[in-house]
Symmetry: C2
Subunit: 352 residues, 2 copies
């Protein structure tokens, strides 16, 4: 392993000078700098990050804690991976950090199993800052992190936190956008498949649904507003079944996310009800899944990779300016038209 000392000798300067060059200090003369840089490439020198970290109290790593509901069960059932959203956000983080000097050290962390605990990466001080991706996260954990003044940013659909850099989405806007589109396509009512009431954003969605329905003159009926038991496709499948068996025949469905949309679609397919020819479906929180649905799911995209990139940017800024005002970023919503919605006028009757 070639050390800073070797480089110094080779370039016939002192270690300190080499160090200054590496950290491009303005204190070094142009000629000296060139000589040192040459030596570095000649010898293929790469600084030892442990040593650097030890003196400068820095790791040059960024921690990413992906929150998980519970210790992941390895299985391939429907709903095995409610973690896709976090996966997409992480992708954005990787892109943004690709060309920086930071490495990313990733960890799956379950606040539920370890209430109040800190992610391993901060306990062992393996990173200079942390991005908390997704939910659920623990209040106590957050408190401790803030007490320690550990550089922190939150990223997730529902991850707004007052006073800490946050990147999140506005589910209300998503619902509104979906409703506008349905209205534009000639629909006069829509079944809302919402997440569980335990999810705070379910109320945001509900409000948006109701006001949007009013604005467009949609009929609003209580039975057409359903909350799933859990945030899973299976749950949506069950609710869809119950609705159908209760005689509810929606021409359009608006779902709180891709999993729920696909769960409902699965039931319809079993019933030989065609999407979109008989029922149009629109999703939210566009994920990898949407593109692969059959038919491909029309959906409100919240640009999750962009969320990840923003989160990374926020953290880099925070590391530079620990006392800056907190920043917030609401992911822009955008309707992605695929194949699951057609104009109401083109739909065909339900089977008898």
């Amino acid at each position: 392993m070639v050390t800073i000392y070797d480089v110094a000798k080779y370039a016939s300067v002192s270690k300190s000078t080499v160090s200054l060059v590496i950290n491009n200090s303005p204190l070094v003369g142009e000629a000296t700098r060139k000589k040192v840089l040459q030596a570095i490439t000649d010898m293929n020198y790469v600084p030892n990050s442990n040593a650097r970290g030890l003196s400068v109290k820095t790791t040059n790593c960024i921690g990413v804690a992906v929150m998980a509901e519970e210790t992941p069960v390895i299985s391939y059932d429907f709903d095995q991976h409610v973690g896709l959203c976090s996966y997409n956000i992480s992708s954005g983080i990787f892109s943004a950090l690709m060309d920086t000097r930071y490495g990313v050290i990733m960890e799956r962390f379950c606040s539920v199993d370890n209430p109040g605990e800190l992610p391993d990466v901060v306990r062992n001080r393996r990173a200079d800052g942390l991005i908390i991706v997704g939910a659920p996260y623990d209040r106590k954990m957050l408190e401790r992190l803030r007490e320690q003044r550990f550089p922190l940013v939150m990223a997730g659909v529902d991850s707004y936190e007052e006073g800490v850099d946050s990147v999140y989405a506005d589910p209300g806007e998503g619902v509104r956008m979906g409703m506008d589109y349905l209205a534009e396509q000639g629909y006069r009512e829509a079944l809302l498949i919402n997440c569980p009431r335990t999810t705070p954003s379910s109320f945001t969605r509900l409000d948006a649904y109701i006001s949007s329905a009013a604005a467009h003159g949609f009929t609003v009926r209580p039975e057409w507003i359903v909350n799933c038991e859990r945030n899973t496709g299976q749950s949506a499948y069950d609710r869809m079944k119950a609705c159908w068996e209760a005689g509810i025949r929606p021409r359009a469905i608006i779902a709180a996310n891709g999993h729920l949309a696909i769960g409902a679609m699965r039931y319809l397919n079993e019933r030989h009800v065609r999407v979109p020819e008989q029922v149009s479906v629109i999703g939210y929180e566009d994920s990898s899944l949407s593109g692969y649905a059959i038919p491909a799911l029309t959906s409100v995209n919240i640009h999750k990779e962009l969320m990840g990139q923003k989160a990374a940017e926020f953290l880099l800024r925070r590391l530079k300016h620990p006392n800056a005002e907190p920043s917030y970023f609401v992911a822009p919503a955008e309707l992605v038209r695929r194949d699951s919605v057609i104009p109401a006028a083109q739909q065909i009757p339900f089977p008898a």
Copy 2:
């Protein structure tokens, strides 16, 4: 920050003793050990990994380089994420490393854009070893890694490498298993949707298909063996369309992976051909996608999380015993029966 020195003072022993306790050396008396351990928990001491790394030339991190075809394009089209397989393998790595002292530092790496280059994590010596997940990986990169004797393991469907710890799958067995199942369900022929000829495993699959067909007395027709242009759902969609328009009417389809299966199913759905009532479909390399397909995809599972776990185990072993013989692990294949296959006898006629 509390250091080893503080602990020593608190426990009234020397730094060395504390260090010995931490690295549970047998040289410490039981009484002393207890006292030190107590001090450690009392003071909430956690060793500085940079310092440790610096003296012991170790990072306590494991690198995971997820190979990517190209710099990822942020988009939400069909086929945006051919990386799901690697995602599933990574999950297994995380699980296996969860309760060890290792952190995992992850990186997306594109060999194609950087021929011969080493992943950042090894260039900067941020990890003690590396798991290369998925493909494509560069021959030259592999060479350099081996020259440096950097602890290495490969993990991926096609990741067998002579002389290096490898975790991979046997696509031939998968095809055989699928064909057996189709035969058992009363089918007498099947359309093979294979990956591109550029993928070495396409030949393994082809051989298995042919010998399996012979064994079961299936009719084999050249037009029923199709190689997709690219390894994407879109490509499978196109091929399926071409087949259909050429008058090919398979009662069963066996696809080389989930993406291809779903691409074909998408075309059939557009044609109002029902799966499985008119065409049964069976996939391979079971992924998150399969469970969410509509209908849920019957598929040969190669337990990708298990592959990740094994890869992690292999790397830990390699770190302990740098000169051990290389280990190989072939992921066990298992048929997962979901909803895309029914007995041939229960199928209904095609539309006129």
